[in-house]
């Protein structure tokens, strides 16, 4: 039963993703990509949970590698996205300058 249930979650999430992302304006497509890079660092939590004390050495090594790589994604992705989004500013209402 479990695989079917996971597949349900997967398919619904894909549809939700299409709905959400198609509303993102093209101005924000670069932050969208770096932001989704951060989200795709989600294997981090799986990698953390896989690092059990009883692990054989190779598993521990691979798990640590997975944690490190996913952390690069999470930290790098969110930070660089924030750096970019900080730069998007609306036009300030300036006092009228001189005419022609």
């Amino acid at each position: 039963m479990e695989p079917v249930y996971l597949a349900f979650v997967f398919v619904l999430a894909i549809f939700l993703g299409f709905e959400l992302i198609s509303k993102v304006p093209s101005t924000l497509h670069t932050p969208l990509m770096s932001g989704s890079n951060a989200i795709s660092g989600i294997p981090l939590i799986g990698a953390i949970a896989s690092l059990q004390i009883s692990d054989p050495f190779l598993s521990a090594l691979l798990g640590t590698l997975a944690v490190a790589l996913a952390s690069i994604n999470v930290v790098g992705g969110y930070m660089v996205t924030d750096r970019m989004l900080k730069m998007f500013k609306k036009k300030e209402a300036k006092p009228e300058g001189g005419g022609k």
């Binding site: 999430a13 304006p25 101005t27 670069t30 932001g35 989704s36 795709s40 294997p43 798990g63 790098g76």
Partner: protein, 459 residues
């Protein structure tokens, strides 16, 4: 405890979804990103609370990864964002691969379903990793940007793909044996190879499509890893990223009027394709000096800048913004029309202009500017070429025929800033340069615009 962790994961998923939803407007986007990162933070915190974890490894991994990530995020230039995204795609793919491997190593004798998703994690993760590394090397100029094609490339790639699927089937039927482990390692190695061979035949101009696609792969790889460890949050988050990458890929392909298959397999930009249209447009060009251009701009009511990647290469975005502000003081309406494939990744030009303090409400999409192009006084094309080439509309023999363009030739006057008459990235002559209403303003983009700014300040 397990139930509690799962509920918190649900909250994380909701935060990711809200974060993406808030990306639908630049005004809320930053808050959305913070919300999304909060979701990630609480997911990590509860993951750390489960029993029997080996913390020394976890802390070591998190420290190294966070330091590298923070360093990259703080140091990267905005012009290098495509390289950064390519690197992050690669890290995502490899982390899914290593996670699936670690799981398999601990428990090689698994069910058929787990074996299948393990195989998929390794395959997609491996392709994403090396594919992204090749894309990174191309974008960073470490290897040639040209498409590298060799004879029978598709036959070889196809054969390798069939072989890996067959190996995968045998592996899935018997994952627990030592032969299964050997197959597993071979599949991983071949997947890494496919990443390279499938990305090298794609030219530099098509990199926006490739990194969008790899973005999607990295999400799908996370999904597959989620199936391996039965974790719903990995599946949801991976699916969101996968969908995002696919949508961006579609947008990029549409903006170039090419199918995804054409981008991936045609070897566009290897030199062979461009030569066939050698005759190109001919005619007289009308050069203009800084003073001429100044008088045109000074008397204009509306000016639309059309920036291309050449603008960023010349580091001219700040002077362009300065010129824009001077024009506004002169009661001229200023906006920036941005083609979806301008720059080296989706939305790249927008970020570069935002960095130069151009307000985002002045950035206009192609589909919004084209209908009112006839009423625009002056279009200033800076460092863009193919995206304003009218051949895409009326020359059926042109390799870019059918590609949507910013129709600058319909504006009353077009000023093209260009270093020389060399054709652009795709090697195609541009009829726009020979039009009656076009003035060519030759020189380095930054120096040229600076000269205009000086003219405005002196007069």
């Amino acid at each position: 405890m397990n139930l509690f962790i799962n509920y918190v994961y649900l909250i994380s998923a909701v935060l990711f979804i809200f974060g993406l939803k808030m990306l639908s407007s630049p005004a809320t986007a930053r808050k959305g990103n913070l919300l999304s990162s909060l979701g990630m933070l609480i997911a990590v915190v509860v993951a750390l609370m489960s029993n029997g974890l080996d913390y020394k490894w976890i802390i070591l991994g998190i420290l190294i990864g966070s330091a590298v990530g923070a360093y990259l995020a703080a140091k990267v230039e905005m012009t290098q964002m495509p390289e950064m995204v390519a690197l992050l795609n690669g890290c995502g793919g490899l982390s899914s691969l290593t996670l699936a491997w670690a799981e398999y190593h601990q428990q090689p004798d698994t069910s058929l379903f787990i074996a299948i998703v393990t195989f998929l994690s390794i395959l997609i993760g491996g392709v994403t990793f090396t594919g992204s590394m090749v894309a990174y090397a191309k974008l960073a100029g470490k290897i040639t940007q040209k498409a590298i094609v060799f004879k029978n490339q598709h036959v070889v790639n196809g054969a390798v793909l069939v072989a890996i699927v067959l190996a995968g089937i045998i592996f899935c039927l018997n994952p627990g044996s030592s032969f299964g482990y050997v197959l597993f390692i071979m599949i991983a190695l071949v997947a890494l190879g496919i990443g390279v061979t499938s990305t090298i035949p794609i030219g530099g101009a098509d990199m926006p499509v490739v990194i969008s696609l790899l973005n999607s792969y990295s999400g799908i790889a996370a999904c597959a890893a989620g199936f391996v460890i039965s974790n719903k949050l990995l599946i949801v988050a991976g699916a969101l990223v996968g969908a995002s990458g696919i949508i961006l890929t579609q947008i990029m392909c549409k903006a170039m009027n090419r199918s995804l298959a054409n981008v991936l397999f045609s070897g566009f930009g290897s030199g062979a394709a461009a030569k066939s249209s050698g005759q190109g447009a001919q005619g007289e060009i009308r050069p203009a000096s800084a003073e001429d251009v100044y008088y045109i701009l000074e008397s204009a009511d509306s000016v639309v800048f059309v920036p291309g990647y050449g603008l960023a290469v010349a580091q001219a975005q700040h002077v362009v913004r300065e010129l824009g502000e001077l024009l506004e003081k002169n009661d001229t309406e200023v906006s920036y029309a941005i083609h979806p494939v301008a720059g080296r990744m989706p939305g790249h030009m927008n970020v570069l202009l935002a960095e130069a303090n151009v307000p985002y409400d002045q950035l206009i999409e192609m589909d919004d500017i084209n209908p009112r192009m006839d009423s625009v006084d002056v279009c200033v094309v800076i460092g863009a070429n193919d995206v304003v080439n009218p051949a895409a509309l009326n020359d059926e023999s042109s390799p870019i025929y059918g590609m949507p363009i910013i129709e600058t030739h319909r504006a009353r006057t077009v000023i093209v800033l260009k270093r020389s008459m060399n054709p652009g990235f795709a090697g195609i002559e541009n009829a726009l340069f020979f039009n009656n209403n076009t003035r060519m303003y030759f020189g380095d983009a930054k120096d040229s615009v600076q000269a205009l700014v000086a003219q405005f300040k002196n007069n």
